[in-house]
Amino acid sequence: MSESDKLPEDSELNRLYRSGRHEAPSDALDQAVLSEARRATAKYRNRWIVPLSSAALILLGIGLSLPLIDLDIYDEHQHMPAPAPQAESIYESDQALQKPALPTAPASGAVELRNQAVPAPQADLAAPPRMEQRAKAKRAPEREPLREVPEAVLQSIDREQSDLTPELWLAEIEALIASGQDQAARHSLNGFMSTYPDYPLPESLLIWQSGH
């Protein structure tokens, strides 16, 4: 500190001043101040209690209600009017949740398609609990394909064929059968029958259908 930063001093006056420093606050004054401080510190300590307990309650509430919400979803699903053949097993209906149903395919067709991919019925018994399955489905996007022909292909066929005349559509189905694409032909035929339920099928298709 330089001289210019110092205050003027007088050591003798300073000594005289120091010799007279004997007064102090009374005990009563001390106690009054300290009591006020203790009251204040109690407040400071307690100020966290309300927000902390509120946060804990909210977390507890969320923790308790989440499983209930999950169960509600399954309950609703179980109470929904089941498209009879699709809800044959819980496992199937869960898979149906994962995979949107084909809009034009009738129920019997869907069962047929699934039967190709779904293992034997004993698998239902060995299937993990629903919650577990759901969690698995959430974290594992890869799953066993339901059918050999990709769904996108079938849907595009549906879209294209619905624009065709009945004659042309039937000709296409027959072409699919001729080229050995039985699954696509069956799918297309199902679509045709739901679009034109009263249209008479050619004998060759009726024979092919009964053979399958």
Binding site: L7, E9, D10, L16, H22, E23, L29, D30, V33, Y44
Partner: protein, 182 residues
């Protein structure tokens, strides 16, 4: 203060978190010096007591306003502001009430010497009380609070040279009046 002792500011932060003992330590550090500053400024034990409790009350309840600088400067700024407020309201007694001052007996000194010391000490207190307010304030902030030139200048809101000038006048006046005691 040794390195192991927490600073005033650290104690004050602990107090704000609810630590009673931190406040007690802090209180012991400033108990006497704040009281004497108020007593010399007010020159009445009754006023000093009242002001003293007000100062600590402000420190306790208005902790959020502490700007994180020096706690000592913060505490004495509160004390100074309360003195000014009280003086403006005209309720502050500026005459020394010597009857309330207690002086202990000093061992190792003759009765005559002790009486002379006491007389000089009382005269000094009286003369401090008679100084112009600006000079007394600077003198006490230096001698009692131990604030630096920069801290006093910032608190009083005047230039450093002004503070030095006020201090020089105060010392000159006191030396002149207390010559036989020095």
């Amino acid at each position: 203060m040794s390195d192991e002792e927490p600073s005033d500011e650290a104690l004050f932060r602990l107090f704000r978190k609810g630590d009673d003992r931190a406040f007690e330590t802090l209180y012991q550090r400033y108990r006497q010096t704040l009281y004497l500053f108020l007593l010399r400024s007010a020159s009445s034990a009754g006023d000093a007591d009242e002001l003293y409790q007000d100062v600590w009350s402000r420190i306790i309840t208005a902790g959020k306003q502490f700007d994180g600088g020096s706690f000592k400067a913060y505490a004495f700024r509160i004390a100074r502001n309360l003195i000014i407020d009280r003086h403006r309201r005209g309720s502050l007694t500026l005459v020394t009430d010597l009857a309330t001052v207690h002086e202990p007996v000093q061992p190792g000194k003759s009765m005559e010497e002790q009486l002379q010391d006491e007389e000089c000490s009382e005269r000094m207190k009286r003369q401090i009380g008679q100084l112009p307010a600006e000079q007394r304030e600077v003198f006490l902030l230096k001698e009692e609070a131990g604030l630096t030139l920069a801290q006093i200048a910032a608190m009083v809101d005047v230039g450093r040279e002004t503070v030095k000038s006020r201090m020089r006048y105060a010392l000159k006046q006191l030396r002149k009046l207390l010559e036989e005691c020095l």
